[in-house]
């Protein structure tokens, strides 16, 4: 069976997940340690998650397949394939799973592991983190215009100043980021 996954990180590569791969049990227990009391081993592949997944329609994300691959220990292949970054985090899989497997939480744990193992990660996610370090938020106040093309900002709109986290925040956030 060919399970081709197109990597969005570099658009050209196609990873054949099932081509003579060896399970990595160490990485598997690492992922399982990140998902709290969810139980991927209780998954009986009913595929309710994949049936309701909006990213399945557009990007061929199959949550049940991710669960299965992790169970089998093909963790490296999953985190390097780019498929984990196609999840829109709508949580439908978590809601509808009869076994409390929560595929979305598994996907988020795999994303964390991708960062930890320095696999390819979409830049925006890392940019968000550095922006939070810098200002506390992922965005700076954006200038805007009305439909009549009048320039506006918070002050002109009568909105109060945005709060700013204090200096200690930066150091603590850094500390938290170094904890996996």
């Amino acid at each position: 069976m060919l399970i081709g996954v197109i990597s969005m990180v570099d658009d050209a590569s196609i990873t054949d997940l099932m081509a003579t791969k060896k399970p990595n049990l160490q990485l598997r227990s690492k992922v399982l340690g990140k998902i709290g009391d969810h139980k991927p081993y209780d998954c009986f592949q009913c595929i309710r998650c994949t049936s309701g997944c909006p990213s399945m329609k557009m990007l061929e994300l199959k949550p049940h397949e991710i669960v299965s691959l992790v169970k089998l220990g093909f963790v490296e292949e999953v985190i390097n394939s780019g498929i984990i970054w196609t999840c829109a985090q709508c949580l439908t899989c978590k809601e509808r799973c009869p076994q409390e497997v929560a595929p979305v939480d598994l996907i988020l744990a795999l994303r964390n592991l991708a960062v930890e193992t320095e696999a390819k990660v979409p830049e925006s996610y890392l940019r968000n983190v550095s922006s939070i370090l810098e200002t506390g938020f992922i965005l700076k106040p954006q200038p805007t215009i009305t439909r009549n093309l009048e320039k506006m900002d918070r002050e002109k709109l009568g909105l109060p100043r945005i709060p700013k986290p204090n200096e200690k925040f930066k150091a603590n956030f850094m500390k938290a980021l170094e904890t996996f």
């Binding site: 969005m8 829109a88 709508c90 439908t92 988020l108 994303r111 960062v115 200690k168 500390k175």
Partner: protein, 291 residues
């Protein structure tokens, strides 16, 4: 009623109309907002990078809200509402984790104690404020309007956590609130479809496809507009509606408004105070219909 207000990243930095309209309507319903100092991002974007760092951000914001002494916290963004609610769940059910996070927070003279109750605008209006209070505040009911509601994913799921709706497959609180204003809210097949906003960080075109397909469906069913209660959903449905239309190959022109803008209009508040001049979708038609 006094509540502390947490606005997150998207509302105060881009989606000004939501903040403006919420700040206008709530005092008219005897809700006083207390802004929080020193807060940061809720942690949602960091969940994909480092779950612990995300939890630290959430716990820190919750601790800052608790520092005001107020028991009720208003979180108007669906994404922040989910992230903070989940963090509360983790912290309340795992003492070891809570101790670990609190030892970090103590360096900032903060502590998460766990006495706070999180509200979203929709359940605050639906469950906390009396119907009569809202009705009394209204100057002109919104007649002859057929609206579609978009509850958004992050305030309805996962139901096991306890979300603002009772039934995750059939949410209805926003519809009740729309009907309270005199307008019609009808179910449509795409009601639960995701807006796609979180894919903006990795698959921009697909995010626009999600949004475009939903707008197209709502438009084709003859609705006068789409009502939202989340800044991320509003961003892709309203500000990026043109781009979404290009992506799905359709001319989209559906008015998209926040529920707070709708309620504000029914209260007789001026358009500009509700930020209705900032919407990118063709809301003028809708405003005209609301008379």
């Amino acid at each position: 009623m006094r509540v502390s207000a947490y606005w997150g990243c998207v509302i105060p930095n881009v989606e000004y109309a939501y903040e403006m309209s919420v700040r206008e309507i709530l005092p008219k319903l005897d809700v006083e907002l207390v802004d929080l100092e020193n807060v940061s991002c809720c942690g949602l974007p960091v969940r994909s990078v480092n779950a612990y760092a995300s939890l630290y951000l959430s716990a820190r914001n919750l601790a800052l809200a608790e520092k005001t002494g107020l028991k009720d916290l208003l979180v108007t963004c669906n994404g922040c509402h989910l992230t903070l609610s989940e963090a509360m769940h983790f912290l309340n059910h795992d003492e070891k984790l809570r101790g670990k996070v609190n030892s970090l927070l103590r360096e900032e003279d903060l502590e998460y104690k766990g006495f706070i109750r999180i509200w979203h605008l929709i359940d605050l209006l639906h469950d906390k404020i009396k119907e009569e209070t809202i009705q009394k505040s209204m100057k002109k009911p919104l007649k002859n309007l057929k609206l579609a509601s978009h509850p958004g994913c992050h305030t309805i799921r996962p139901s096991r956590l306890g979300r603002i709706e009772n039934d995750p497959e059939n949410p209805g609180k926003m519809d009740d609130l729309i009907r309270l204003l005199g307008a019609t809210s009808v179910d449509y097949p795409e009601k639960l479809d995701c807006c796609g906003a979180l894919l903006l960080w990795s698959h921009r075109d697909v995010a626009f496809t999600f949004a475009g397909l939903k707008i197209k469906a709502v438009q084709e069913q003859g609705f006068d507009g789409l009502v939202v209660s989340c800044p991320a959903c509003h961003l892709v449905f309203d500000a990026r509606q043109k781009a979404a239309g290009v992506t799905v190959g359709s001319k989209l022109n559906l008015p998209v408004v926040y529920y707070s803008q709708l309620l504000g209009t029914a209260m007789g508040i001026e358009e500009e105070k509700l930020g209705l001049h900032l919407n990118r979708s063709p809301v003028d038609e809708l405003i005209e219909k609301m008379g």
